[in-house]
Amino acid sequence: MKHDPTQVSVSPAEALYPLDMGGADSADPIPADPSHRAYVTMLFNRHRVSLQRYLMRLVSPEDAAELVQESYYRLLRHGEMVRVDAMARSFLFQTATNLARDHHRRRASHRASLHVPLEDAEIAQDHLGPDEQLAGEQARALLERAIADLPQDTRTVFLLHRFRDLTYPQIAAVMSLSARTVARKMAEAIERLSAAMAEVP
């Protein structure tokens, strides 16, 4: 059965995210499109537990709860989304990750303004200190090692897709592989890198 956004908008689960709470920064109006609102709400109710657990690996539990809420409003305000569920979840997690990154930066620059003379504050912001990084040194080292350890073709597929924004067919063309092989190598890369992430608390 395919989900029906209009049905979801009246589901009791929506009570978890009532709109009258107002966003963290509600300067931007939330679009009135009810089907968009219903879709975002449904997306949240489906993935909220998972998202919160994910964010708790990047920030403190209290901050994670706040960022989940903030992600919800961010998506509501975003106004347009691809309604393919797997892609929508990726977009949600990406949004939440960016918020976590901002959160770290804000905290670090706050700290910098407390301890660093005013004229050096900007320099301190440009330099990524340990507080500003999204995850601990251990997670970063594990991931870097896992990427370096990928078989060469697999790594090339991953890097071109992740950092050069090439689609699978484009990668297939430049590497003289079939698109199916590219997808398989991409899955292999994700599998190995996610195994490294499984060791991160």
Partner: protein, 332 residues
């Protein structure tokens, strides 16, 4: 630690969701899969790896690995050689792709198709990325015009050969006109070559239809499935279905010529597509002798040496051409 079935599935789903042609048909299956808490945890690890990778972008290790990946895509042959009217330097694919995409939006908006022209010189190959996600590998001495609009994707192959990797879009058929024939695909991989007096179509994936004036206006288009091919002449005659030229196409896309027991004159014609100094036979009757082998395109020394050792033909190099003749005193 060893990967569980859930970890493998999570990676598969994650990779599939990022594929350009992932379609909502698989969405329901994914929704059911992701309901499981263990599956969610496995998927979170995929997401963490994906998102965290961004943080590593500028570390020395990643910068070096990225440079290595970039150099693989920018093969010297394609980087320096191709001369499309609108250049797409491989090092700036991402940027160029977004420029093209912006262009495509503009065309839709104006509802007026724009035309881009790409060409390669003799001995050159070039990959062209199109706005819809399709890609085209242009072979030596080829000329192609691309005309996309909101309701159709039209390409005119005016000279040479091209291998099309078509991204799926049912609402916009992908048409390739070569001479009087039109090959139409939805999402597939196929090769079109303009030969002397006609054109040849080989299908590597999916199905295409071949129609147009070449087939005659009254006759229906011919459906050609993966593994098959068809040829048509300039006068409008169409061949029976025949095997796709898989070896030859897989060869040229990796800069190789594959000669599998074919007449020497056919092999030389293929070789000469890639060079400005053709190899010719002093005595044309030698052309019926057969040849086997795999050669790198442009590696004249290896090719001539094989002809010397295998067929006892000696080469004399001139400015305009290289002439082959039998070794003195050798009788085949």
């Amino acid at each position: 630690m060893s990967a569980s079935a859930g970890d493998l599935q999570a990676a598969d789903w994650f990779a599939q969701a990022r594929s350009a042609d992932s379609h909502p048909a698989s969405d329901q299956a994914w929704l059911e899969w992701i309901e499981d808490d263990g599956h969610q945890r496995a998927y979170e690890n995929c997401e963490l790896a994906w998102e965290l990778a961004a943080e590593l972008r500028h570390t020395p290790t990643l910068a070096a690995l990225l440079a290595a990946a970039d150099s693989l895509t920018a093969a010297p042959r394609t980087a320096s050689a191709a001369r499309p009217t609108w250049r797409v330097p491989l090092r700036h694919i991402a940027l160029a792709a977004s420029v093209v995409a912006v262009g495509a939006v503009a065309w839709l908006f104006l509802n007026r198709p724009a035309t881009l022209e790409y060409r390669t010189a003799v001995g050159e190959q070039h990959t062209v990325f199109l706005a819809d996600g399709s890609s085209v590998l242009l072979n030596t001495d080829s000329l192609m015009r691309v005309e996309f609009s909101g309701h159709r994707r039209h390409i005119a192959l005016l000279r040479g050969e091209a291998l099309f990797n078509v991204s799926h879009d049912r609402s916009r058929p992908f048409e390739v006109r070569a001479l009087q024939g039109v090959t139409t695909a939805v999402g597939t991989q196929f090769d079109v070559e303009i030969t002397r007096g006609g054109a040849a179509v080989s299908v590597l994936e999916g199905t295409v239809t071949v129609g147009g004036d070449a087939i005659g206006t009254s006759a229906p288009a011919v459906a050609v499935a993966a593994g098959s091919g068809v040829g048509y002449s300039q006068e409008g005659g169409v061949s029976a279905l025949r095997p796709a030229e898989v070896d030859r196409i897989q060869g040229w896309r990796t800069q190789r010529m594959v000669f599998n027991d074919i007449p020497l004159d056919t092999a030389l014609a293929e070789y000469n597509r890639y060079t400005r100094t053709p190899i010719v036979l002093r005595d044309p009757t030698l052309g019926s002798r057969h040849i086997n082998g795999v050669f790198h395109i442009g590696d004249e020394a290896a090719f001539l040496s094989a002809l010397d050792q295998g067929l006892h033909l000696k080469a004399t190099r001139g400015d305009a051409q290289t002439v082959l003749q039998p070794e003195a005193g050798y009788q085949p």
